[in-house]
Amino acid sequence: MKKLINDPADVVSEALLGIAAAHPDLGVDHQNKVVYRADAPVRGKVGLISGGGSGHEPLHGGFVGPGMLDAACAGEVFTSPVPDQVVAATRLADGGAGVLHIVKNYTGDVMNFEMAAELVTAETGVEVVSVVVDDDVAVQDSLYTAGRRGVGTTVLLEKITGAAADEGRDLAAVADVARRVDAAGRSMGMALTSCTVPAAGQPTFDLPEGEMEIGIGIHGEPGRKRVPVAPAKDIAEMLVEPILSDLDFTGGEGVLAFVNGMGGTPLLELYLMYNEVAKLLAKAGVTVVRSLVGPYITSLEMAGCSVTLLKLDDELVRLWDAPVSTPGLRWGR
């Protein structure tokens, strides 16, 4: 294992020290591993929090700031946070208008956020609504799985829902926007390499030269199938096709196309992939009106990418374009 770390047990807490030092606009509760807007809670605004295992940076801590999250809690690497952390983040984000929990659909995340919501509501009376993100078309959404994973759409949902909260909407309305985004987003990912959880010390799986995994999530786990390495244009097809056959992306205001890097793939290749994706969408009659290219929801140093499509309407376009000011996404101010 080759990493820029000290003791593997201290990776998350030491990275949080770095985040605190690098971003004066953010506060960090080091005890509970919560990153929050230094000016939180914002009175009268619905608070937005999220969280999950670490190793997906900039998600979630890098999306804390005006126009996006109020707080984010960082679990151990690939391990959902514990309820105490979620409770602490909820308290920090509560400006009197209730708090939205944005939860990626993994058994651990759902259970820990659930326990936290029960606890914090019992203790403080703050109103909590949870929205679960489940956009990964690699997973059959059926009785035979834990349901679809929450992946790329999470980034877009945090941005758009953050803008809705910024407009002063109430908790129900903000949660409604979040659910609409989740319903309109679909993702599919692939890996050229695995990644190494610091505490595990070796790659989660072996992926020999010449092979790749299709249908991976964001936890260094194997995917749905292993196939020979292929040219970018074929990979783009393997990712875009299942998305398009899951949801009709024609019509409306068009889509937001998001090519995400898994952490170890250079931007040069992500732009090349974006070109392939854009060509496929054009051929399928899907109009791209917004785009995002870069490593935004990662899996440590895994090489690979995911494609997310989000179907937009006028309102979602407006909320996407609204100002945001976080370490990971920033525009308009």
Partner: protein, 209 residues
């Protein structure tokens, strides 16, 4: 029935033995979780059980209920992931069922065990054959009840059933947790949670019987 019922010291020994076994098997648990999960089950549980041992050492709970509940609360607060709330709820429910008493007889321990397993179902909605820790724990509770009122024999039967349940997860296709994402590729791998649950029952047979 064994001469000595389960007292607080025995429960403390059980927890200590489980913590030691988890530490010893940490790499194996992580390796199993690498194959069909995200390579953190060993580190998660080891971190949690270290915290439990530290909490029990500093608090020295004086009843079975207090000890088991402290164990559960500590796990909930330190493990995270799926196994944190599940094992946490297991011990919390066990503690509630055990109550504020200093000893548990075989029947009371059995009832607490059953309550703990019920907590796991309540939290995780697993069914038999889903390829989870429940596949080790449910047969263990059944075997315990079926073994009659000799505590030692019942615990041994439970541990053996847990081992069989753990082994039986190998050919299954996962339907719960992270392994379910793999679909058919989850077949042929032993479930990490069922493996740690078998360690838990083995530690019980060693220390409480």
């Amino acid at each position: 029935m064994s001469a000595v019922p389960v007292d607080v010291a025995a429960l403390r020994a059980w927890i200590g033995a489980f913590a030691a076994d988890v530490a010893e098997h940490q790499e194996e648990l992580t390796r199993l979780d690498s194959a069909i999960g995200d390579a953190d089950h060993g580190a998660n549980l080891a971190r949690g059980m270290r915290a439990v041992v530290a909490a029990l050492d500093s608090e020295k709970p004086s009843t079975a209920g207090a000890l088991l509940k402290r164990t559960g609360m500590t796990l909930v607060s330190t493990v995270g992931g799926a196994s944190g709330p599940l094992y946490g709820t297991f011990f919390l429910r066990m503690g509630t069922a055990a109550g504020e008493v200093e000893t548990l007889d075989a029947a009371a321990f059995g009832a607490a065990l059953r309550a703990g397993v019920g907590g796991i179902v309540a939290r995780g909605k697993a069914e038999l054959g889903d390829k989870t820790m429940y596949d080790a724990l449910a047969p263990a509770a059944d075997a315990y009840d079926a073994a009659g009122d000799d505590l030692g024999a019942a615990l041994r039967a439970a541990s053996e059933a847990a081992d069989r349940g753990r082994d039986a997860t190998v050919p299954l296709q996962a339907r719960k947790g992270r392994a379910s994402y793999l679909g058919e590729r989850s077949v042929g791998h032993q479930d990490p949670g069922a493996t740690s649950s078998a360690l838990l029952l083995a530690a019980a047979a060693r220390t409480l019987g």
